[in-house]
């Protein structure tokens, strides 16, 4: 049974960028990929995905191209741009630093008297 964690806003963008960084994907595949690389711990709402994708396109971090899916269906594929790649790197670094800090804070034990 996988627990679904609530995503902080902004992390969805990060996850999408990461998912797409491994190769161009269409919308449905992005969902699957995120599920997969998070070890089935993260599920994305279908309604939340596409606005996020469109937003990333508007910001110039993704670019789109129509192509054929695995079973020969026509689908729109999303791919990282150079800018997107850079943003992914920046956000990943930030996330690592932030989460390390929070983790350390939470692991603090009460001082021994």
């Amino acid at each position: 049974m996988s627990e679904e964690a609530e995503l902080l806003p902004g992390t969805l963008d990060l996850l999408i960028l990461k998912a797409v960084s491994l190769g161009p994907l269409h919308g449905y595949a992005v969902l699957s990929r995120i599920e997969q690389i998070s070890g089935k711990r993260l599920f994305i709402e279908q309604g939340a995905l596409y606005p996020a994708l469109f937003r990333l396109v508007r910001q110039g971090l993704l670019k789109t191209e129509w192509g054929k899916s695995e079973n020969n269906r026509r689908a729109k594929f999303y791919e990282l741009t150079a800018k997107g790649r850079k943003r992914l790197q920046q956000e990943t670094d930030w996330w690592k630093r932030a989460s390390a800090a929070v983790t350390a804070a939470l692991a603090a034990r009460p001082q021994q008297a």
């Binding site: 269409h26 919308g27 699957s32 606005p51 079973n71 269906r73 689908a75």
Partner: protein
């Protein structure tokens, strides 16, 4: 990032259909892919598809959210707002029409007046760094703006160190002949170095170089933009053409830009000063006809320059004590200030008046919008329930007023542009730089800014009020007390008081101008203008070098004229009364009463006339005799003076038979006997009182005066009633005697009187119209507020009536509130008018700018109109049936 953003915008708006299709397709493909996955998991195809579709959720919401994630939300929202506002306005044609017309007229008038202000006051002058340029006059005890003589100019030019160059400027009005009949033009003689110093760049060709000022240099001339347009139709081939100026051939070397102007001088043509070629170069006592213009050196202040100039003046005074004693100082004025000084305050007053009318109109529209919007409360409540924020509601309501302002403002601006010709005809022709009038980008930008401003003025307050939910709630429960309308009513009351205050200020201004104008038109000029025609002309240099030849010409003119039917009498004078921009005065002394100090030497207006002048112009002979044919070069010198001179300088005895010494030559002054006294005449304008005049007969004119008289004189003719075709006859008469004479247009003397009042008439017309418009709009605003108040208090009035109040009591209540409003406005307006009175003081004639009579009249007028407005509004209150109003909710 920008590229991606723009592409996103393009997708949303330009390739809308394609984008929608793609989104749809993407949606479908996602659903299908999900269905495929489910099918692989074992479901039936149809079941898998159904499941996938349900999982996906609302397709409509999907599309909308995707669309919102693309760029351009604000634009989309704005387009929607515009569409909606347009429909709403279309459904209320009465209001929309009134609003558009009000805005069109208000914005149109303001833009039109601004365009004049822009051309005359705001456009950069043709000079570079004009703040360093100073216009310099000589100062006498009775006039701070008099001229220098040529030797004086050369002295100052050679000695001054605080200026980067000093140029002399004199008025020069020659006859201008190309290939055709000669025309008289008004221009200047100017030092050749002036153009480089002023930093003026020619439109075509070149300006002057130092060479042109040399004695014996080839004659050159520059023409103005106005002359170039008028006479040469802007033909670029005009450079190099030879023209005949006063008998001398000159070559046109350049065309001056349209923005070039000099203070109080017409500059249709400019010729070099050529000081060394002028015979007066070494005559210390020669005529004073020059002004200076100089550029301050970079680190020199005006005070320092003034001090140096004054030191030079005192030096000259010491060197030549007889000649320069009358000059007591120097006047230095920044050149741009001097160019506009006469009309700046008038133009700005008119501009502010137009703006005030627009403001009053906008306030009215704001009030009407409020009343209208009260009926939209349900719609707005629904929008709020559906999630509209206050900002969105405000934006929606502002869009409406913006649309109205856009349509009305564009209409008004177009109106102003189309009526350009009519506007120019109204404006007095001697406004500096008015020939370069045009609607340029500055004016258009101003119009756009005005449209935005008007939209905000009309819409901001209603939009802000209506977006408040507490306000709207109170609106819903209409009529139950005045709480809901309280804030709105109070606001509108303040606004209407403000409108009345503005209207009062405008009306007071108009009233004062009207009184000034009326008083001025009643002024007697001192002569009879009816049935008098005038022709200005100038004689060529060849053949008219001395007094005798001039006298001969006029004798022939006179004898021809006497033979023409319809001419009662005719004469010639050097300068006509009220002729613009013409000055001629001389100093004189009474030998037995020399002045206490040389600076106090009196001066008098100086005119050369033929014997019939006084009879022709209807100037009464008060004492002694007039001139006769025998007053010529072979007989003793005689003169006729005006009653003012007699009163001021011969108070003890009759001037007849007395001698005075008149300084009207470049050499020694002449002794002249006074033989007659005539009535005073207003020579320069109607506003200043008449000064001393002295008239000399043509046959006894000083030789030095021949060039001036030859260059410009007026033939005045008294006709017997309407003589049609007379103009042609007069012109032919002159041409028959000598075809080389440059003849101007025939103008009736009455036209000079009208022209003297032209500027005032213009100002009065415009401000009067604006004041009337302001009065009407303020009254309309008052009516609207009172009506609205009555409407709001329908229930309350019904209750009062039911409880026994009489109609009279109700009426009294309404009038009392209206009166309070009006009185408040009058007091505020009065205060503003007092404060601003100083600014328009220089436009008044014969009345104080705080004239109590005018104010009282205007207050009364406003009160009466306001009373009428209240009365009409209150009629509605009379028809309230208490039963109906109590039932209606």
């Amino acid at each position: 990032m920008i590229a991606a953003y723009l592409r996103s915008i393009a997708r949303r708006f330009l390739w809308r259909a394609q984008t929608e299709r793609e989104t749809e397709e993407e949606l479908q493909s996602h659903v299908q892919l999900r269905a495929d996955a489910l099918e692989r998991g074992g479901l039936e195809r149809a079941e898998a598809q159904r499941r996938a579709r349900i999982e996906f959720g609302s397709q409509v919401q999907f599309k909308e959210e995707c669309r919102e994630a693309m760029a351009g939300n604000a634009v989309d929202q704005a387009i929607q707002d515009v569409r909606f506002s347009f429909r709403a306005l279309w459904k209320a044609p009465g209001f929309s029409l009134v609003a558009v017309i009000t805005l069109a007229l208000g914005i149109g008038a303001t833009v039109a007046t601004f365009s004049v202000v822009n051309t005359v006051l705001l456009r950069p002058f043709a000079f570079s760094h004009p703040e360093k340029l100073l216009w310099i006059y000589s100062q006498r005890s009775d006039n701070p703006r008099t001229n220098f003589s040529l030797p004086e100019y050369c002295d100052y030019r050679d000695q001054v160190t605080s200026f980067d160059g000093l140029a002399g400027v004199a008025s020069f009005n020659p006859s201008f002949a190309d290939s055709g009949p000669p025309e008289r033009v008004q221009g200047v003689r100017m030092s050749a170095s002036a153009f480089a110093m002023l930093g003026v760049r020619p439109l075509l060709g070149r300006t002057f170089i130092a060479e042109d000022d040399r004695n014996g240099a080839r004659g050159v001339v520059l023409i103005s933009y106005g002359l170039w347009s008028r006479r040469y139709a802007r033909d670029p081939a005009v450079i190099g053409r030879a023209v005949n100026l006063n008998g001398e051939m000159r070559e046109i070397v350049g065309v001056l830009p349209a923005s070039f102007a000099l203070p109080n001088l017409d500059t249709e043509i400019v010729v070099p000063l050529q000081p060394d070629a002028d015979p007066r170069r070494n005559l210390r006592n020669s005529v004073n006809f020059l002004r200076f213009v100089g550029r301050l050196k970079p680190n020199v202040t005006v005070q320092q320059a003034h001090a140096e100039f004054d030191a030079i003046r005192q030096n000259l005074h010491r060197q030549y004590p007889d000649v320069y004693t009358g000059k007591i100082g120097i006047t230095l004025i920044p050149i741009t200030e001097e160019i506009v000084t006469n009309i700046k305050s008038v133009l700005l007053t008119i501009f502010c008046a137009a703006g005030a009318v627009l403001l009053i109109g906008c306030v009215n529209l704001a009030g009407i919008s409020l009343s209208r919007a009260a009926a939209r409360q349900r719609e707005l409540a629904v929008r709020t329930a559906l999630g509209a924020t206050r900002r969105q509601l405000t934006r929606l309501l502002l869009t409406e007023s913006f649309l109205l302002a856009l349509v009305g403002g564009s209409l008004g601006t177009l109106l102003a542009i189309w009526s350009q010709r009519m506007l120019l005809r109204l404006v007095p022709t001697d406004l500096p730089r008015i020939e370069s009038f045009s609607f340029d980008w500055t004016v258009l930008l101003f119009a756009v800014a005005l449209i935005f401003g008007a939209a905000l003025a009309c819409g901001l307050v209603p939009a802000w009020l209506l977006s408040r939910s507490d306000f709207r709630d109170a609106l819903v429960s209409s009529g139950r007390g005045t709480a809901g309308g309280g804030l709105q009513s109070r606001l509108r009351t303040w606004l209407v008081s403000g409108q009345i205050a503005l209207a009062l200020v405008l009306l007071a201004n108009a009233g004062l101008l009207l009184r000034s104008f009326a008083l001025l038109s009643k002024e007697q000029p001192g002569f009879e203008a009816s049935d008098v025609q005038t022709i200005r002309f100038s004689l060529p240099q060849t053949g008219y070098a001395d007094v005798a030849s001039l006298a001969h010409f006029y004798d022939q003119l006179h004898s021809h004229a006497s033979a023409i039917n319809g001419i009662k009498s005719d004469a010639v004078i050097s300068i006509l009364p009220l002729a613009p921009k013409s000055i001629s005065f001389v100093h004189f002394t009474r030998p037995d009463r020399p002045p206490a100090r040389p600076e106090d030497t009196p001066s008098t207006n100086y005119r050369i006339v033929t014997p019939d002048y006084f009879r022709t112009m209807g100037i009464p002979l008060l004492d002694g005799r007039g001139f006769t044919e025998s007053d010529d070069g072979d007989h003793p010198l005689v003169a006729i003076v005006s009653a003012i001179l007699a009163k001021d300088h011969f108070a003890d005895r009759s001037p007849i038979g007395q001698r005075i010494v008149v300084d009207d030559t470049d050499g020694t002054p002449r002794q002249i006997e006074i033989v007659g006294v005539v009535g005073p005449v207003k020579q320069t304008n109607l506003e200043t009182p008449a000064k001393a005049d002295i008239y000399l007969p043509l046959g006894q004119m000083a030789k030095d005066g021949v060039p001036f008289f030859r260059n410009s004189a007026y033939w005045v003719i008294k006709t017997s009633g309407r003589a049609a075709g007379l103009e042609q006859v007069l012109r032919e008469t002159i041409q028959n005697i000598d075809p080389n004479v440059a003849v101007g247009a025939v103008r009736p003397m009455a036209e000079f009187l009208v022209a003297a009042l032209a500027a005032r008439r213009f100002s009065l017309l415009l401000i009067g119209s604006f004041a009337a418009a302001a009065l009407f709009l303020a009254a309309a605003g008052l009516y609207a507020v009172i009506s609205y108040g009555i409407q709001q208090r329908n229930r309350e009035i019904g209750i009062r009536l039911a409880l026994g109040a009489t109609r009279a009591t109700i009426l009294g209540m309404i009038f009392k509130e209206g009166a309070l409003l009006v009185v408040g406005g009058l007091i505020a307006g009065f205060a503003i008018a007092l404060a601003l009175g100083r600014l328009v003081a220089n436009q008044m004639y014969g009345v104080n700018e705080h004239d109590p009579f005018s104010f009282v009249v205007v207050c009364l007028m406003l009160s009466v109109i306001s009373f009428l407005a209240c009365a009409i509004a209150a009629r509605r209150a009379m028809n309230i049936d208490p039963i109906v109003s109590l039932q209606c909710e």
